[in-house]
C-alpha cells in the first residue's frame, strides 16, 4: 500500500472492515469431518440443548456459591459511608472518616467482580462517572479537586429528582459513595497505589470513596505493598470466597454425578480434565470449557450420540433410526458382547430384524438409565463410608472414588480391601452417623430396588439402637465387677488384659456389636458389587460415554514444541503435498527452505558453522536441478540461494532454534535438543 509520507518507517494499515463474512450454518460443520453424517443436524441440536442446560446449571451454581459473599459485600458498601450520609457532626467523627473503607476480596473468580460492577452500575451515578472519567482523561485535568467538584455536580443534579429508571437504590442515598474496584491488587505499582490512597484520604470528606481490592494470594500482601503510614488510612474488612477446589467439588456434584444430564465422561477423560485443573491452572472456567469440548467432540464423532438425550426422547428417536444407524448399533463392541451372551434365536433376530433391534435398544437404554441412577446413589453411600477413614485409601474426594470405580471393578483393588478392613474397626457412633447419612442419600431417590436397601439400613440402625439399650442393662449388671477391676493392682490388671486379648484372638466370642458391624460391612460390600460395575460392562454405554481422551488431550494440553518439530521435520504432515512425501531422514529439495535448514541443523552439534550450513543448504536445494555451470545466470542464482538461506536462518532464529553467539565467529548456537 502506498503512503503519502516521505519518511521511512513502519506504517500500520487497518484491514478493510467491510470484508464479507462467509456464513456457513454451524451445524454444517458437523457434516464435514467423518464420512458418517447420520443425523448430524439432530446431533448438533441435541448438543446445543444439553450444553445450554449444563451452562445454565453452572451459572446458577456459581451464583449460589457467591451469594453469601456478594450479599455481605453489598451490605458492607451500604453501611460504609453511613456516617457521611447522615452528615453527623459527632465527636470523633472527623478522625474516623479519614479512613477509607476497604474490602479485601480473596478470590479466584474473575467474573465475580464483573458481576459486582454491573450491579453497582445500576446505581446510575456510576455509569455517568465512567463516561465522565473518559472526558477527564482527555482534558488531562485529572486532579482530585476536579474529581470532587464533578462529584458535587453530579450529586446535586441528582437531587432535584430525575424520575424513572434505576434510581431505586441511589435515591435512598443522599450522597452515594464512589466505589473503586482494583482487580489484581498485586499487579499495581505500589507507588501509584500509595499516592492514590494518600490523596483520596485527604479528600474523603468531599469525595466518599470505597475501595475494593481483589487479591489472589493472601491479604498479607496489603502490608507488603503498603507501608504502615498508608495502610493506617484504610479500614479493611476481609471477604473470602470459596476455594477453587471446593468449587470444583460442587461443579462435579451438579454436572457429572447426576442423571440429570445423559452425557457422561470416561475415566481417562475425567482424569485429564481433573489433572489439568489440579496441576496446571486451578481454573473452573477451563474445566467447564473442557467439559464443553468433550460434549461437542462426542456429538461430532459418535453417530449414535443422537440417542444421548433424555429417555423418552431417545425412545422416540430410536424408531426413526436409519438402516445405517442400526448397523452402527450392531457394530458397537458392547452390543456385540451383549449379543453373544443371548440365545441363538435371539442373536439371529437382533442381527437381522431391524424392528426387534430397535425394541431391544429401547429396553437397553432404559436399563442404562436405571444403572446410572443406582450407580450414583451407591457411589455416594460408599463415599460416606470411605471419606472419613484414616489415610483415605479410596481418596478423600468423591471424584477420586468415582474415577477408580469407572476404571475397574473397585472390589478387586487393594485399596478397597484395606478400606473394608478399616471399616471393620469403626466405632459404633461413627458407624451410625454414616449409616444415617447413607439412609438420607438413598431416601432421596424413588427407585424401587434401592428403596429396599434404604429399608435395610433403617433396620440396621434400629438394631444398633436396641444394642444401646441392651448394653446399658449389661453394664448395670457387670457394674460391680468392673469396679473391682479398677481397684486391682497392676499385676492383676495385666493378667486380666492378657486374658481378654487371648479371648479375642480365638475369635470365638464376638460381641453383638461386632457381629452387627460385620453385617453392615458385608451389606455395603454387596451393594457395591451389585451396582458399581464399570460402565464398559453395560451394553450401549458408547452412546453416552465420551472416551476419546487422546483427542481431548491434544486440544487442551497442546504441545507446541512437538507440533513445531513435526511441521519442520515432516512438512507433508500439515501441507499434504504429495511432492513432499519422503522417506525417513531424507530431505526433498522442494520442501520449504526453513524445513531444509532445520533438518540440516539437526545434524549439527552445539555450535553450527554458518558456511558449512550454507554449503549444505545449497547442495540440497540444487540437488534435483541440472548442473549448468557455464550458464551466465549461475552467479545470480547463487545469490538467490544465499538470500533464501539467510531468510531461513533468521526464521529459525525467530522461532528460537538458533541464536548468534560471540564464542566463535561465523557460528550460531543451537538452542534445542542437545544445544546449550
Amino acid at each position: 500500500m502506498a503512503t503519502s509520507s516521505v519518511s521511512k518507517g513502519c506504517f500500520v494499515f487497518k484491514p478493510n472492515l467491510k470484508k464479507r463474512k462467509t456464513s456457513v450454518p454451524i451445524e454444517e460443520y458437523f457434516n464435514k469431518g467423518k464420512n458418517e453424517s447420520e443425523d448430524s443436524k439432530l446431533r448438533f441440536e441435541t448438543y446445543q440443548l444439553i450444553w445450554q442446560q449444563m451452562k445454565s446449571e453452572t451459572e446458577q451454581l456459581q451464583e449460589e456459591l457467591n451469594k453469601n459473599l456478594f450479599d455481605s459485600l453489598i451490605k458492607f458498601l451500604q453501611k460504609s459511608h453511613s456516617g457521611f450520609q447522615k452528615n453527623s457532626r459527632d465527636w470523633g467523627c472527623q478522625i474516623k472518616l479519614r479512613e477509607i473503607p476497604t474490602a479485601a476480596l480473596i478470590l479466584d473468580m474473575k467474573h465475580f467482580l464483573q458481576k459486582l460492577c454491573s450491579q453497582l452500575m445500576d446505581c446510575h451515578v456510576d455509569v455517568e462517572s465512567k463516561e465522565q472519567e473518559k472526558d477527564i482523561q482527555k482534558k488531562i485535568h485529572c486532579s482530585m479537586d476536579f474529581l470532587s467538584s464533578w462529584y458535587m455536580n453530579v450529586t446535586q443534579k441528582m437531587d432535584p429528582g430525575r424520575p424513572g429508571k434505576k434510581r431505586t437504590s441511589s435515591s435512598q442515598w443522599q450522597s452515594p459513595p464512589v466505589v473503586l474496584i482494583l482487580k489484581d491488587m498485586e499487579s499495581f505499582t505500589t507507588k501509584v497505589l500509595q499516592d492514590f490512597i494518600i490523596v483520596s484520604s485527604q479528600h474523603l470528606h468531599e469525595f466518599p470513596l470505597i475501595l475494593i481490592f481483589g487479591i489472589a494470594t493472601s491479604p498479607i500482601i496489603i502490608h507488603r505493598l503498603l507501608p504502615h503510614a498508608v495502610s493506617s488510612l484504610l479500614c479493611i474488612e476481609i471477604f473470602q470466597s470459596l476455594s477453587c477446589k471446593e468449587h470444583l467439588t460442587t461443579v462435579f456434584d451438579k454436572l457429572l454425578l447426576t442423571t440429570q444430564f445423559p452425557f457422561k465422561l470416561s475415566e481417562k477423560v475425567l482424569q485429564i480434565l481433573i489433572s489439568i485443573f489440579l496441576y496446571y491452572d486451578f481454573s473452573i472456567q477451563n474445566f467447564i470449557k473442557g467439559l464443553q469440548l468433550s460434549l461437542l467432540e462426542h456429538f461430532y464423532s459418535q453417530p449414535l450420540s443422537v440417542l444421548c438425550c433424555n429417555l423418552p426422547e431417545a425412545k422416540g428417536r430410536i424408531n426413526f433410526l436409519s438402516d445405517n444407524q442400526c448397523e452402527n448399533i450392531r457394530r458397537l463392541p458392547s452390543f456385540r458382547r451383549y449379543v453373544e451372551k443371548q440365545a441363538t434365536e435371539k442373536q439371529v433376530a437382533l442381527l437381522t430384524n431391524e424392528r426387534f433391534l430397535k425394541e431391544e435398544t429401547q429396553s437397553l437404554l432404559e436399563n442404562l438409565q436405571v444403572y446410572h441412577t443406582n450407580y450414583f446413589l451407591i457411589l455416594r453411600c460408599l463415599h460416606q463410608f470411605t471419606s472419613s477413614l484414616p489415610k483415605y485409601p479410596l481418596g478423600r474426594q468423591i471424584r477420586e472414588l468415582y474415577c477408580t470405580c469407572l476404571e475397574k471393578n473397585i472390589w478387586d483393588s487393594e485399596e478397597y480391601a484395606s478400606a473394608l478392613q478399616l471399616l471393620r474397626m469403626l466405632a459404633k457412633d461413627e458407624l451410625m452417623t454414616i449409616l444415617q447419612k447413607c439412609f438420607n442419600v438413598l431416601k432421596s431417590s424413588s427407585e424401587k430396588q434401592l428403596g429396599s436397601s434404604a429399608k435395610r439400613i433403617e433396620e440396621l440402625l434400629a438394631q444398633f439402637q436396641s444394642l444401646d439399650a441392651e448394653a446399658k442393662e449389661e453394664e448395670d449388671a457387670s457394674g460391680s465387677q468392673s469396679k473391682g477391676l479398677q481397684k486391682t493392682d497392676l499385676y492383676h490388671l495385666q493378667k486380666s488384659l492378657l486374658e481378654m486379648k487371648e479371648l479375642r484372638r480365638t475369635g470365638k466370642k464376638q460381641t453383638k456389636f461386632e457381629l452387627l458391624r460385620e453385617k453392615v460391612v458385608n451389606f455395603i460390600d454387596g451393594l457395591v458389587r451389585e451396582h458399581l460395575l464399570p460402565p464398559e460392562t453395560q451394553p450401549l454405554h458408547e452412546v453416552v460415554y465420551f472416551t476419546a481422551a487422546h483427542t481431548l488431550h491434544e486440544h487442551l494440553n497442546a504441545a507446541p514444541r512437538i507440533a513445531l518439530h513435526t511441521a519442520l521435520n515432516n512438512p507433508y504432515y500439515y501441507l499434504k503435498n504429495e511432492a513432499l512425501k519422503s522417506e525417513e531422514g531424507c530431505i526433498p529439495n522442494v520442501a520449504p527452505d526453513i524445513c531444509i535448514a532445520y533438518k540440516l541443523h539437526l545434524e549439527c552439534s552445539r555450535l553450527i558453522n554458518l558456511v558449512d550450513w550454507s554449503e549444505a543448504f545449497a547442495t540440497v536445494v540444487t540437488a534435483g536441478e541440472k548442473t549448468d555451470a557455464s550458464s551466465v545466470t549461475s552467479e545470480e542464482r547463487n545469490e538467490i540461494i544465499h538470500a533464501r538461506f539467510i531468510r531461513a536462518v533468521s526464521e529459525l532464529e525467530l522461532l528460537g532454534f538458533v541464536k548468534p553467539t560471540k564464542r566463535k565467529t561465523d557460528h550460531v548456537a543451537r538452542l534445542t535438543w542437545g544445544g546449550c
Binding site: W91, G92, I95, K96, R98, E99, P101, T102, A104, I106, D108, I140, C142, S143, M144, D145, D184, E186, S187, D195, I198, V199, Q202, A216, T217, S218, P219, I220, I221, I222, H223, R224, H228, A229, S231, S232, L234, C235, I236, E237, I238, Q240, S243, C244, K245, F277, L278, Y279, Y280, D281, F282, K659
Partner: protein, 398 residues
C-alpha cells in the same frame, strides 16, 4: 493574639518565629521558608491555622496530588486567580506548561488590586515530591520572589531535612525551621484538649494518661494516638455508664481498660483488624481473639506444577549455581522433571502474584531473569504439600 494559644498547642516558639518572619502585611517576607519535622508534628496544621486566622492571602497545594509539573502550576495559578477575582466572580481556567509561563502568568494574576500590596504565601505540602519533577522547579520556587518581582513567599513543608533537597548546582538557601517531635507531656496536653463534651476534662485526661502509658513506647504519631483514643474511649466509659464505677474511681477504670488497650495494640494498631470491626467487637463485648486478622490468612493455593516451579525458582535464587551439580546429580528424581516443565505463562502468573520478581531490565525480552521473593517459611509450607524436602536441597542448611 490570645485565641491562638487555644487552637495551636505546644508550638508557641515556632508560631512566634513564623509571625516575626511574616511581619506586617505589606512587608516583604523571606523569599522561601522550609519547614520540616516528623509525621504529625503539626507542620501543616500550624501553617494553615496561622495563615487562616491572620487572613493572609495564601495558596495551599499538596504535591502528592500534582504528579506533573503542569498540574502543580495550574493549581497554584487557578487558586490565586480565584483569590484575586473572588469579588467580581469571573473565573477562567488558566493553562500553564512551563515554569517560564508560570512566572509570566503569576505576574499577571497578582496584578489584581487586592493582592498588590501584601505578601502572598504559597504553601507546598509534601514538598519532597518536588524533587522528582524537573530540575528547575525547586530552585525556581526558592527564588520566586526575585524571579517575578512580587511580594511572595513560598513555604515548603516536608518530612525530610533540607540537606536532602539541595540540588548539586546550588540554589538560593531558604529559611529552615524545624518542628521537633512532641514530648509525652505535649502529647498528653494536646490529646486531652479535645475531650468529648459529655465528660469532664479531668476524666478524659486520666484516660489519655493510661493510653499513653500503653502506647507511647511503640507509637508517637499524634494522629494514630488520637485515632486509638477515640476508638477505645467507649470501653473506658463502660463502667461509668453502667454505674459500676464513678468518674473518680481511676483504679477500677484502669483495670478495666488496660488489657483492652494491650489487645488493641496487637490488632487494631497493626491494622490486623479494621477499626470498624474493632468497634463492633467492643459493642458486642466479644473476644477479639476469635476474629481472624489479616495475617492469619497466609494460605496460598497454587496448582501442582506451579508449586514445583516456585520451589525450583527458590532453589535457583538461593543456591549458588556451582552447587547445582552437587544437589541434582545424585538425585534424578523430582527436581529434574520440573526443570522441563517451565511454562512461561505460569511464570508470568507467579510474577503477578508477586511470588517471583523480575530482576534486570524490562526490555530484555529473550532472557528475562527472575528471583523468588517468598520467605523460607512460605516455601517450606508449599514444599510440604507436595512432599518435597526442600531443606535437603538448600545450600545454607548443609
Amino acid at each position: 493574639m490570645p485565641h491562638f494559644e487555644n487552637v495551636v498547642l505546644c508550638r508557641e516558639s515556632q508560631v512566634s518565629t513564623l509571625r516575626s518572619l511574616f511581619g506586617e502585611r505589606h512587608h516583604f517576607s523571606f523569599p522561601s521558608i522550609f519547614i520540616y519535622g516528623h509525621t504529625a508534628s503539626g507542620k501543616t496544621y500550624v501553617t494553615q491555622t496561622l495563615l487562616k486566622t491572620l487572613e493572609l492571602p495564601h495558596v495551599f497545594v499538596n504535591c502528592v496530588e500534582c504528579f506533573t509539573l503542569r498540574l502543580l502550576l495550574e493549581q497554584i495559578l487557578n487558586k490565586l486567580n480565584h483569590l484575586s477575582s473572588s469579588e467580581d466572580g469571573c473565573f477562567t481556567q488558566i493553562t500553564c506548561d512551563t515554569f517560564n509561563d508560570f512566572v509570566r502568568l503569576f505576574k499577571q494574576v497578582t496584578k489584581a488590586k487586592n493582592l498588590k500590596d501584601q505578601t502572598i504565601y504559597i504553601v507546598l505540602d509534601k514538598a519532597e515530591y518536588l524533587r522528582d519533577m524537573e530540575v528547575n522547579v525547586l530552585p525556581g520556587f526558592l527564588r520566586l520572589q526575585e524571579l517575578c518581582d512580587r511580594n511572595v513567599t513560598v513555604i515548603f513543608l516536608s518530612e525530610i531535612i533540607w540537606e536532602k533537597f539541595r540540588p548539586n548546582t546550588g540554589c538560593f538557601e531558604p529559611f529552615v525551621l524545624y518542628f521537633p517531635d512532641y514530648s509525652i507531656g505535649n502529647l498528653q496536653k494536646i490529646l486531652s484538649h479535645d475531650h468529648p463534651p459529655e465528660y469532664s476534662a479531668d476524666f478524659y485526661a486520666a484516660y489519655i494518661n493510661i493510653l499513653l502509658g500503653v502506647f507511647y513506647t511503640v507509637c508517637r504519631d499524634l494522629k494514630e494516638l488520637s485515632h486509638l483514643a477515640v476508638l477505645n474511649f467507649p470501653k473506658y466509659c463502660e463502667p461509668v455508664v453502667k454505674g459500676e464505677a464513678s468518674e473518680r474511681d481511676t483504679r477500677k477504670l484502669w483495670r478495666n481498660i488496660e488489657p483492652h488497650l494491650k489487645k488493641a495494640m496487637q490488632t487494631v494498631y497493626l491494622r490486623e483488624i479494621s477499626s470498624s470491626q474493632w468497634e463492633k467487637l467492643q459493642k458486642d463485648d466479644a473476644d477479639p481473639g476469635q476474629l481472624e486478622g489479616l495475617s492469619t490468612y497466609t494460605h496460598v493455593e497454587l496448582p501442582y506444577y506451579s508449586k514445583f516451579i516456585l520451589i525450583a525458582a527458590y532453589l535457583a535464587s538461593y543456591n549458588p549455581a556451582r552447587t547445582d551439580k552437587r544437589f541434582f546429580l545424585k538425585h534424578h528424581g523430582k527436581i529434574k522433571k520440573t526443570s522441563f516443565l517451565k511454562k512461561h505463562e505460569k511464570i508470568t502468573s507467579l510474577v503477578t502474584l508477586q511470588l517471583l520478581t523480575l530482576v534486570g531490565h524490562d526490555d530484555q525480552l529473550d532472557g528475562p531473569k527472575y528471583k523468588c521473593t517468598v520467605s523460607l517459611d512460605f516455601i517450606r509450607a508449599i514444599a510440604r504439600t507436595v512432599n518435597f524436602d526442600i531443606i535437603k536441597y538448600l545450600y545454607d542448611f548443609l
